[in-house]
């Protein structure tokens, strides 16, 4: 029987992203008639292990000291060593920074083919095909991965969480043989999120674009977002202008979000921006231009100067509370 391996970082916990990746792995395993194993690297995390074991045929835990924090070269080598004995038909990863960094290189080391930001995985005549958005969200491509294993990093939240397996998978501890590698060494880390939860998991997002004209209006957007229990995102143009941190960027090359409500303020709605938020349940916009493409994606909107709308909106929302 063949194997599908899902590679996860235990440090992030068995969160919605991990659940989606496991779900993608399980679905693919089912269509291949294969087993689904989770390889978990990072610090020891017993909760993670038991949650993962509930959905997988086995969980391979590598929590040795060398892997307690993310280092690209070391994690890559460890994943190669942990995957190889399973002779996987496919290896599935999430679409976080680290997984994206490692996936193509892991494919190379395993002799496979990689593809990223997958929205769907299918099996056609024994070949693995992935679906992904291309040309800045203007088109969708289906791509057949010709080598084995197929290494796919998936848009994790686009996949339903893995269902509980009939029987709990075995938790095995494994260790990779890691030689010291100090060619690269991450020495400092900093978080600069706009709120508590991850933008990807936010239920409501208010995003600002270049039309805001400067950094100050982002403070107003943050106030409105806070009143609604939401978070603030941005377009690339706003991030490139230095009005907010790059980690707030939403789009093809930013966060992929899917909140219940996405309110775009002074954002044009370029396809590359839409590519990151088109899974939102309801999209709304504030834009001074009635022909702005963003309105093609909106359930409702207002054609006005945001400078007039936002202060008033704040007042009205406060009065409703």
């Amino acid at each position: 029987m063949s194997n599908v391996v899902v590679c996860l970082f235990s440090a992030s916990g068995y969160d919605r992203a991990a659940q989606g990746v496991a779900g993608a792995g399980r679905r693919l395993a089912d269509s291949l008639g294969a087993k689904m194993h989770i390889v978990a690297i990072g610090p020891s995390n017993p909760d993670f292990n038991s949650q993962a074991a509930a959905v997988a045929d086995s969980v391979i835990v590598a929590d040795q000291a060398e892997l307690s924090e993310y280092q690209p070269e070391i994690c890559l080598e460890a994943l190669k060593q942990l995957c190889r004995p399973l002779e996987p038909r496919a290896v599935i990863l999430s679409n976080d920074t680290w997984s994206q960094e490692l996936a193509p290189r892991l494919a190379h080391r395993l002799g496979g083919s990689a593809a990223g930001d997958c929205l769907d995985l299918t099996v056609v005549d024994g070949s693995i095909r992935i679906k992904r958005s291309v040309y800045g969200g203007k088109a969708v491509a289906t791509i057949e991965l010709k080598r084995s294993p197929a290494v796919a990093w998936v848009r994790s939240r686009a996949f339903d969480p893995a269902a509980l397996a009939a029987s709990t998978g075995e938790i095995k501890h494994a260790s990779a043989e890691i030689k010291p590698d100090d060619r690269t060494r991450i020495v400092e880390r900093k978080s600069e999120t706009s709120g508590e939860a991850r933008l990807e998991d936010a239920k409501l997002i208010i995003s600002g674009g270049r039309g805001l004209g400067g950094p100050e209006p982002f403070k107003d957007l943050q106030e409105v977002a806070a009143m609604l229990g939401g978070q603030v995102g941005a377009s690339r143009a706003a991030c490139d202008s230095g009005w907010c941190p790059p980690s707030w960027q939403i789009g093809q090359t930013g966060k992929k979000v899917a909140p219940g409500l996405y309110l775009a303020v002074a954002i044009q709605g370029a396809s590359q921006h839409i590519a990151g938020m088109s899974d939102s349940k309801v999209v709304a916009a504030v834009n001074i231009d009635p022909d702005a493409p963003i309105f093609k994606h909106c359930k409702f909107g207002i054609v006005e100067d945001y400078k007039k709308v936002i202060p008033l909106l704040k007042e009205k929302l406060a009065a409703m509370k």
């Binding site: 070269e73 920074t97 994206q100 960094e101 996936a103 193509p104 290189r105 190379h108 080391r109 083919s113 593809a115 040309y135 800045g136 088109a139 969708v140 289906t142 791509i143 057949e144 991965l145 010709k146 080598r147 060619r183 690269t184 991450i186 020495v187 400092e188 880390r189 900093k190 600069e192 991850r198 990807e200 409501l204 609604l228 229990g229 690339r236 991030c239 490139d240 230095g242 790059p246 980690s247 090359t253 966060k255 219940g260 409500l261 396809s271 590359q272 009635p290 093609k296 994606h297 359930k299 409702f300 909107g301 207002i302 006005e304 709308v309 008033l312 909106l313 009205k316 929302l317 409703m320």
Partner: protein, 268 residues
């Protein structure tokens, strides 16, 4: 320091959706009247390289694998931005070879340049957005890679690279040789070349190499590679009707907007 910046030329990614068409037989976008431009992340990489050279000195080689008809424009622009030299591997085969084929070509060309310390590529391209070239070049060359880098300084025994993560950033110390993939930030917006430099760039030599000269499996590259194959390309249809909030005054309109927003927020 010898810096190689890999460039890709793509169909202008900013063309509006209404003008965008695909050829579903050839499985690529139809060019129409759109321009070919250098991928923005490659220009972010070049800009980052130029700023690094200001601090550390060194030589920047702009390298492209592309069609002989148009890819030269990207190299001329790189020279006008003040790259030191330019090199092209002529693609006379499949217009979009798969990512492994591209990485093998670029890695072979990089070896051909002689000594290299830092290889810089864009994090992904604005057309196919594959996001694998940097990582695969690193594997082909057997050197490490750091992705999503937006700032580079010189460090104790190599470089300090700052890269974006999902929640903020990380800084890594890195010895050379190294591959980095570059993403955008407020500091690496590509400079606009001066008119005089544009004129001068048109007289600078460009080294041109064929696939047969660089030592790759040229037949396989021309056929598109053996890594993956695009089997379908289509434009998704989506029709949403936007309802503009009503009201006679701004106050009324925003009141209605607030109501709709609050209704949704409370149901979440």
């Amino acid at each position: 320091m010898n810096i190689i910046v890999c460039l890709k030329q793509i169909l202008d990614p900013e063309i509006p959706v209404r003008d965008f068409r695909v050829d579903s037989d050839k499985k690529e976008a139809t060019r129409g009247s759109a321009n070919m431009v250098t991928n923005i992340f490659c220009e972010n990489a070049l800009e980052t390289a130029l700023q690094l050279r200001e601090k550390t000195g060194g030589k920047i080689t702009a390298l492209i694998f592309g069609s002989v008809e148009s890819a030269e424009d990207s190299l001329r622009k790189a020279l006008a931005m003040k790259a030191d030299q330019a090199m092209m591997v002529i693609n006379d085969g499949h217009p979009h070879p798969d990512p492994l084929a591209v990485a093998q070509v670029l890695a072979a060309a990089i070896r051909k340049t002689g000594e290299f310390d830092l290889v810089m590529v864009g994090r992904e391209s604005g057309d196919w957005g594959v996001g694998q070239t940097g990582g695969l070049i690193a594997e082909e060359l057997g050197i490490p890679c750091v992705s999503f880098v937006d700032q580079i300084e010189s460090g104790a025994d190599g470089l300090i690279v700052k890269r974006q993560t999902d929640t903020g950033w990380e800084k890594a110390g890195a010895r050379l040789p190294l591959v980095v993939t570059v993403t955008n930030n407020e500091f690496n917006v590509p400079r606009i070349p001066k008119t005089r430099d544009i004129m001068m760039s048109s007289r600078q030599p460009i080294t041109k190499l064929t696939l047969d000269e660089i030592g790759v499996n040229a037949g396989e590259v021309r056929a598109g590679g053996s890594y993956y194959q695009v089997v379908d390309l289509s434009i998704p249809v989506k029709d949403v009707n936007c309802e503009f909030v009503s009201g006679d005054t701004l106050d009324e309109k925003v009141g209605n907007l607030a109501k709709r927003i609050m209704d949704i927020a409370q149901a979440l």
